[in-house]
Symmetry: C2
């Protein structure tokens, strides 16, 4: 971490190596910066792969091809380019990705569709094929690096390197899960696309890995927001090398499957939180907990309406217990809500219950809570059993400063 | 206008009196401010009324009762309270509105449901009944005032008074339309609710007036956004006294109905633009024009996705022709779009056509355009005939400064 790291930054933790995964980095020089910007990950044969991608219909060729490549279920390599998202670059962008896939496939002797490529950075500039080719050649000649090097290399405007780990017992075999991620707006298209990569030595079928990843995604990555802007390149990929030697997992009826899914969920949540902690301009980490909604999905949508509200986010930036803005955001969410059953609290203290301000509301503990770095907002709809937690950061002058002059 | 007015402010125009409409203002003292904050408008007998209201499900009692009161189609009075929105105040809030309706109904000898009440300001504090009663008594004793006084009195954090006029010929009778409005976020719940009032001397049935107002609303007020936050109190009411003496309008088959609808549309658009011009922190007025969408409604939604994107708005604040962010916003809108048919321009200059940056793109005229106060963004989807224009303002440090410390 440096002086310019987010005030919410956390140190990069010690992360275990994953058997069957080798990581290298190199300088492709996509931007005029003195740092590595190409990450090459080689994966053992028979590595299972699963992925989730942006729903932005203007997605990059990397996302399109990644979706197609998932169908055959296996991966031998991952290449991540930082500094150029290659999005909205037409056929030239697609050719650049296909050239990388061919180059690696020739080197490893694997089908090109087992090579996954991600790119992050400015939109609208085709990825330079020559720089990519030379960068990969350089990477192949270097010594393997550690996870922190890789986390720094996939980053763009991130202010700190982000990684996390988890583990699970499958029968008597301990499996490891390690993840790295970048993003400083989940949803910031030309500089802070969210890219996350998870590696495990567990033996697991591609279909079941996909099922676990999709489920975890729905309650972790899909529950964070920095600025409501959905990137054209968001990608999370999970790779399972099978080197741990556990009895392979193929469904929840297999022993250890629940433990693996819980560990994956834990890892995804850690990674998602790291992105929020590096949210552009963020000064506070905010958890919005919704209960009493008609369904979990309705709760998530209401949580996101609150977490995306500029007025709620600026109020928290100003350490102002302005619960009226939370009421507004609940009401605009387009989900079932009843004004006269609604309760709102901050940091565990109710400010309003069942549609009215509390007669004996003492703002003192709420004011103290809002002065901290970790803020919680509680909303009870009073309608049903649906619940969700959504994470975001506050909206500050820093966000404006970063984004009003990013490209220039 | 004052030194603290929005840089996009325009002078209050000369507005014609409307026969059958008498306006008075008084000091109810809802806040500790040395200005009038209660507006009382008396309307001739048989005045037709139409209205559109916020869709926020946590709406105020004023909105709830206003919706109910519309059913009988006629209005004798309007009361607007500034400084307290009376939203989320439970039964006490509702009682305060009903007390105002009864007081005026007793004074005028009309049914209480012909008295319309609006309130704007902080959420969660019941409107003080005693101050409202005394304020109305004071208003009844004062001389009538002009439209600018009324526009100033309904305002809260607005930085300039907002009014506009239009006229139409119905047969050989000229009818006048005058409107005043307040709002500095269309969508800023506890200080800048949008309230708009339109007065005309035209003779028109309540049902047809409602039809015209709803249609105009869909392409004017529903096409502006400052910050994507939908207020709990947004209200636009149209009152038609019938004093012009035209042959009454009841449908589009009546002579002059088209002219009246066009004049109403013009007036609503003027009023909507004034709100954007006073958007919190606004430095630039932005028109986003969408063409080639699959439908007009789809075009409007895509336009709003662009106009609500923090990254598009901060790019324009920074005078940065960052069209990649527009691509991102189109793609996240959830509407039909084809990346490879999409074209993006600024100020009439295309930056990208059919999914790719223009090979000979010269940014010079775009850079010059973005330095101005009035910005246009053009998007062609290349799919169909649907089009729409949406208006917004940029997102600046001013917005953060205003909203991070509003209540404190």
């Amino acid at each position: 971490m440096t002086d310019t790291s987010s005030p919410l930054a956390v140190p990069f933790p010690p992360l275990p190596a994953i058997a069957g995964v080798t990581v290298r980095v190199a300088r492709a020089g996509y931007k005029n910066w003195g740092r590595c910007d190409l990450t090459y990950v080689e994966l053992a044969e028979e590595t299972a792969v699963a992925g989730v991608f942006t729903r932005n219909v203007c997605c990059s060729s990397e996302v399109e091809l990644g979706r197609l490549n998932l169908a055959q279920g296996h991966a031998r390599a991952l290449v991540v380019n930082a500094g150029n998202s290659n999005a909205f670059t037409g056929y030239r962008g697609r050719e650049a990705v296909e050239a990388i896939m061919r180059q690696i496939s020739g080197h490893l002797g694997c089908p090109p569709e087992q090579v996954f490529v991600s790119s992050t950075g400015v939109i609208g500039v085709p990825l330079p094929k020559d720089k990519a080719r030379a960068g990969i050649e350089a990477a192949l000649l270097t010594e393997p690096c550690d996870w922190e090097d890789a986390a720094n290399t996939i980053a763009t405007t991130d202010t700190f390197a982000k990684g996390a780990a988890a583990a699970a017992m499958i029968g008597d075999v301990k499996v490891q899960l390690t993840g790295i991620i970048k993003g400083s707006g989940m949803i910031a298209p030309d500089m802070a696309t969210m890219l996350g990569y998870i590696f495990t030595d567990a033996a697991i079928s591609p279909a079941f890995l996909q099922h676990c990843l999709s489920t975890s995604n729905q309650r972790t990555f899909s529950c964070i927001t920095v600025d409501s802007d959905t990137s054209t390149s968001d990608t999370v990929l999970a790779f399972a090398t099978g080197k741990a030697g556990n009895a392979p997992l193929a469904s929840f009826s297999d022993p250890g499957a629940d433990a693996f899914a819980a560990a994956l969920d834990d890892l995804c949540r850690q990674l998602a939180h790291l992105v929020v902690r590096d949210g552009e301009g963020a000064q506070k980490f905010i958890a919005v907990s919704i209960s009493g909604a008609v369904s979990d999905e309705s709760a998530r949508r209401i949580g996101l309406a609150i977490a995306n509200s500029p007025l709620v986010k600026t109020a928290i930036a100003g350490e102002d217990a302005n619960w009226g803005r939370v009421v507004m955001a609940v009401g605009k969410a387009g989900e079932p809500a009843d004004r006269d059953r609604l309760s709102i609290g901050f940091g565990g203290t109710w400010a309003a219950r069942e549609g009215q301000p509390l007669a004996d509301y003492d703002e003192t503990p709420v004011v103290a809570h809002l002065k901290g770095r970790e803020i919680s907002v509680e909303v009870d709809l009073g309608l049903g059993q649906g619940c969700a937690t959504v994470w975001t950061c506050d909206l500050t002058h820093g966000y404006i400063a970063i984004n009003a002059d990013y490209r220039t």
